[in-house]
């Protein structure tokens, strides 16, 4: 018996196509993985998705509010990893405050009449974390922890949870999947082309993964994919898929680069592995910290228009 979104043929077909595609690609890359570092690296990246994607589809198909709960948990896990990375995880007051605000954001999304509070929460958060040193009567390193907590909340709470806001729109789960696929695809194409053919590094002091060639190829291919999968959007007008493709290719890279800046400053490559594959959870979520809010507001703007 089918439950939730599994009853929607579009959702079922998308899930089957994607899982089938990943399995086929995975098999090919696995067989080629012994033939060089590039394929080996591609296999390391892909294998986590082969395990994760069916699980993600199963969760997102659940009735409300479970997809939202899932996104809030992802957001909390990202915040935890960020705090560990910047060495603030043992500052429990800041960590707990951030967690509470992320959960609060989730509740605001769940309860639409409170929606007007969503964009106010970064301000309220800043006010709250500023009070922590006062309440604890301590000053040492407090600017650092207040700033890091705010960055953490804005990126992995407020910003990332815009993806969860799509879940309250009609057909929102499919938009979420659409954006997620575009950003992942865009990053992997940019990385693969940059590594294989890339010459002109655009941000050599921040990331070796972004070259002009890689960026341009990923832009074109992401737009093609956005066009090819536009049936996932509730409105098939050109501006919707065009904006999604452009945002995923351009602002997805910015999210990636912002995290690279933080990692480089800290001297860290990654904080562990996410499920079985390459990189940590932040490397999976960083692409969405700009794409999520920007596309959400543009989508609302288009809808009003």
């Amino acid at each position: 018996m089918l439950y939730g979104l599994w009853q929607d043929p579009l959702y079922r077909q998308t899930a089957l196509i994607l899982v089938g595609f990943l399995l086929t690609l995975g098999l090919v890359i696995f067989l080629l993985s012994k033939h060089g570092p590039l394929m080996n690296s591609a296999w390391a990246s892909l294998k986590s998705w082969i395990f994760v994607i069916p699980f993600v589809f199963a969760i997102l198909a659940l009735p409300k509010p479970w997809p939202l709960v899932f996104m809030v948990l992802l957001s909390l896990q990202s915040a935890k990893t960020f705090f560990q990375m910047v060495g603030a995880y043992h500052r429990s007051w800041f960590v707990w405050t951030t967690y509470i605000f992320i959960i609060l954001q989730g509740y605001i999304i769940y309860h639409p009449p409170l929606g007007y509070l969503y964009d106010l929460t970064p301000m309220i958060f800043l006010g709250t974390v500023s009070l922590i040193p006062v309440l604890r009567n301590t000053a040492l390193h407090m600017i650092q922890y207040m700033a890091l907590s705010t960055i953490c909340f804005v990126f992995f709470g407020w910003s990332l949870l815009h993806m969860a806001r799509f879940t309250s729109l009609d057909g929102g789960i499919l938009i979420l999947i659409y954006l997620f696929m575009l950003t992942e695809f865009s990053e992997n194409v940019c990385w693969a082309v940059s590594r294989t053919f890339g010459k002109m590094k655009l941000f050599s002091k921040i990331s070796n993964k972004v070259t002009l060639e890689g960026f341009l190829v990923s832009l074109v291919l992401t737009l093609l994919l956005a066009w090819g999968m536009r049936h996932l959007l509730p409105v098939r007008s050109n501006k919707y898929w065009l904006a999604a493709g452009l945002f995923a290719a351009i602002f997805g890279r910015f999210g990636d680069l912002i995290l690279s800046v933080i990692r480089r400053d800290l001297g860290i490559k990654n904080t562990g592995i996410f499920i079985f594959g390459r990189d940590d959870i932040l490397a999976r979520m960083d692409k969405l910290i700009f794409v999520g809010p920007l596309y959400y507001y543009l989508f609302l703007y288009f809808q009003k228009g």
Binding site: Q84, Y89, H90, H141, Q144, I268, T271
Partner: protein
């Protein structure tokens, strides 16, 4: 301008299987706390109350007040031993309780590793490692933590016949190097409930005897003192010739 101080060594430098140990930062992960609570409830309120009926002979509360750092040693003939001691220690002291556990068993796969890290707070001891990594790990914790109760099994491995074997020198080494006193414990009934090779324990009565606190000492001295104490509880704890030698002495 002064640089920011990123205190991330705990999470960025340590390998996954020892990230839970407070080697750089005294901090309890929420996941650890949650699973420790769940495990504590299961162990104390269910498993060691109704299935294995645990009796603790001695007072851990008084010891906790007087001894901030201790090495808890016990006889070892079953996988039940470490959890029996944990079940005997009051839950409120659990966050200061660490168990040295064989890496090749307790950290053999991701499920066991998760359980050992978050439920037991285990310190992985690689029995094949000759570089002294385990010694460094235990010494570092015993030196740097203000409060720590470390459970060690000085026989090194589980006894096949249930009789107590001679001690390895590791326990004395840790104790003398870090000036940590040793608490004697004796588990009675462990071999009958879960002998070596058994997959699950049998229901029954298990007694944990809390003994005296012994100052840091060479291994022979420690072994003799422990043996003398255990023989007052169970004259059959040692193999026949061992017990006779002790009685004659």
């Amino acid at each position: 301008m002064r640089d920011w101080n990123y205190e991330n060594d705990q999470w960025m430098k340590l390998p996954g299987h020892i990230k839970h140990l407070p080697l750089f930062t005294r901090h309890f992960d929420l996941v650890s706390l949650l699973f420790r609570c769940l495990w504590g409830f299961f162990l104390k309120a269910l498993a060691f109350r109704f299935y294995v009926r645990l009796k603790v002979i001695g007072d851990f509360h008084a010891l906790y007040k007087s001894q901030k750092r201790l090495i808890l040693i016990s006889n070892h003939s079953s996988h039940l031993d470490a959890v029996s001691i944990a079940a005997a220690v009051p839950f409120k002291y659990w966050m200061d309780l660490y168990i040295s556990a064989a890496k090749d068993y307790w950290f053999r796969n991701p499920v066991f590793t998760f359980f050992s890290k978050h439920c037991l707070g285990a310190i992985p001891i690689d029995r094949k490692d000759r570089s002294g990594e385990a010694i460094k790990l235990c010494t570092s914790l015993l030196t740097n933590l203000e409060r720590i109760w470390l459970i060690l099994f000085p026989e090194g491995t589980r006894s096949k016949d249930g009789f107590i074997q001679p001690f390895k020198r590791g326990v004395s080494l840790f104790s003398m190097k870090t000036d940590t006193p040793i608490l004697f414990l004796y588990i009675e009934g462990n071999k009958d409930l879960m002998p070596k090779g058994a997959f699950l324990p049998r229901p029954g009565v298990l007694k944990v005897h809390v003994g005296p606190v012994f100052p840091p000492a060479p291994v022979d001295e420690l072994y003799d003192a422990y043996k003398a104490w255990v023989l007052t509880i169970n004259p059959n704890a040692y193999a026949a010739e061992e017990a006779t030698t002790q009685a004659l002495a």
